[in-house]
């Protein structure tokens, strides 16, 4: 059977793809070295596929349809946004695994919205670009949850989705080794009056709770409090909850790869690995 072998949480700041150097060089280097470290870990762990958890930013999906949870099972392209400065191109999707996760979800009470053709926005494109693209043979399965545009998915459901993805991978008849990557920033205000601010105390509190494996503490956070203290972008910690949910079957150890408050990237920027034995 296939194995969930690694779990990471990373930023998906669009400026990483479009204009990284507007941030101080020292900080840019720290983040880029973090991505390089994750690429090395993916190679070391012989990862075949990464399930990447992103959220739309009113880009891919419009007011006519806002899926709560969506999986791309077919053709994948990216990026959606031309202002990222990268030409849109096909992205290798592990279609058999994506279709298996979809079907496993349907059988276990998770009514996925499904994209047979999906053009991903920066939330999954940036991690693809910085981690997966240059790893030979590694494919991506894109998953979107409603963490950016209201109505938002419930946080407990995010953990359940992660658990289900873990179980679906374990149920997949293959020797493949799979990683899950939760994406998004910590504190950040996207398009809000506070855009550019970073709440380091909030960010460290989130990281501390993850380190202590305090999932219930994370689930107890109120959206209004997160919004007020850390901005609309911080609600993306839901993407991280999916990755955390995928490793709740294990006693993981959090490895903090980096944390930088980067005001010019308008985001508290962290990368972690959730290490576990499987």
């Amino acid at each position: 059977m296939a194995k969930l072998t690694a779990a990471f949480c990373v930023p998906h700041i669009p400026l990483i793809a479009s204009q990284p150097n507007i941030a101080p060089k020292k900080k840019v280097d720290i983040v880029m070295n973090g991505f390089a470290h994750i690429r090395d870990r993916m190679t070391e762990l012989k990862i075949d596929t990464a399930v990447v958890i992103g959220d739309d930013h009113y880009t891919v999906f419009g007011p006519h349809c806002l899926p709560h949870m969506l999986i791309g099972i077919g053709d994948v392209f990216g990026p959606y946004e031309n202002w990222l400065g990268h030409e849109r191109a096909p992205i290798a999707n592990n279609q058999p695994l994506a279709q298996h996760i979809m079907g496993y979800g349907f059988d276990h009470g998770f009514d996925w919205a499904v994209a047979k053709s999906l053009t991903v926005d920066h939330s999954t494109f940036v991690p693809y670009l910085k981690i997966i693209k240059d790893l030979e043979g590694v494919k991506m399965v894109p998953v979107y949850i409603a963490a950016g545009v209201e109505p938002l998915i419930k946080t407990r459901r995010c953990v359940q989705i992660g658990e289900m993805i873990h179980d679906a991978i374990a149920d997949y008849d293959s020797s493949e080794r799979v990683a899950i990557i939760g994406t998004g920033g910590l504190s950040h205000w996207v398009g809000a009056a506070n855009m550019g601010k970073v709440n380091e105390a909030f960010d460290h509190n989130i990281l501390d709770m993850i380190k202590r494996r305090d999932i219930e503490g994370l689930l107890a956070l109120k959206d209004d409090d997160v919004l007020n203290e850390a901005g609309n972008g911080a609600l993306e910690y839901r993407n991280w909850l999916v990755a955390l949910g995928a490793v709740t079957r294990y006693t993981y150890e959090m490895d903090l790869i980096c944390y930088e408050p980067i005001h010019s990237w308008v985001t508290g920027t962290a990368m972690i690995e959730l290490k576990f034995a499987n």
Partner: protein
């Protein structure tokens, strides 16, 4: 009519460049096709981003539609931020003070230039 109508209008700006041109060329005609109240019409007509915020329009969509209409560059981005803060541009991004002052000046010059164009009827949209 509702916040949803405004979000639909803004999202369409991001999706269809032809709509951006049509709106900028003749905003009143363009918006006449949508069921907007007088307040909503004024809000969209002037792209009043802080009013959008108060009305419950997604900030992400407010920002993206702003850049779809007026360009994705530092000047327009800081102008957006200034409007979101009702005329006060905060240094949230912690730019060095001299650089920030230059940016504040450039945003003010841009706004003044656009006002002149509007006074002479060369521009129908304020931004």
């Amino acid at each position: 009519m509702s916040v949803y109508t405004i979000e639909k209008i803004l999202w369409e700006f991001c999706e269809e460049p032809d709509r951006v041109k049509a709106f900028l060329n003749d905003p009143d005609s363009y918006l006449s096709h949508y069921p907007l109240s007088a307040d909503e019409l004024k809000m969209v007509r002037t792209m009043d981003v802080s009013a959008f915020d108060e009305y419950g329009v997604s900030n992400m969509l407010g920002l993206m539609s702003w850049t779809a209409l007026y360009g994705n560059n530092p000047l327009t981005m800081f102008d957006y931020l200034k409007r979101m803060n009702r005329g006060e541009l905060p240094n949230n991004m912690q730019m060095p003070t001299p650089v920030f002052k230059i940016m504040m000046f450039a945003v003010s010059v841009r706004s003044a230039f656009l006002r002149v164009l509007q006074v002479f009827g060369l521009k129908k949209n304020m931004n």
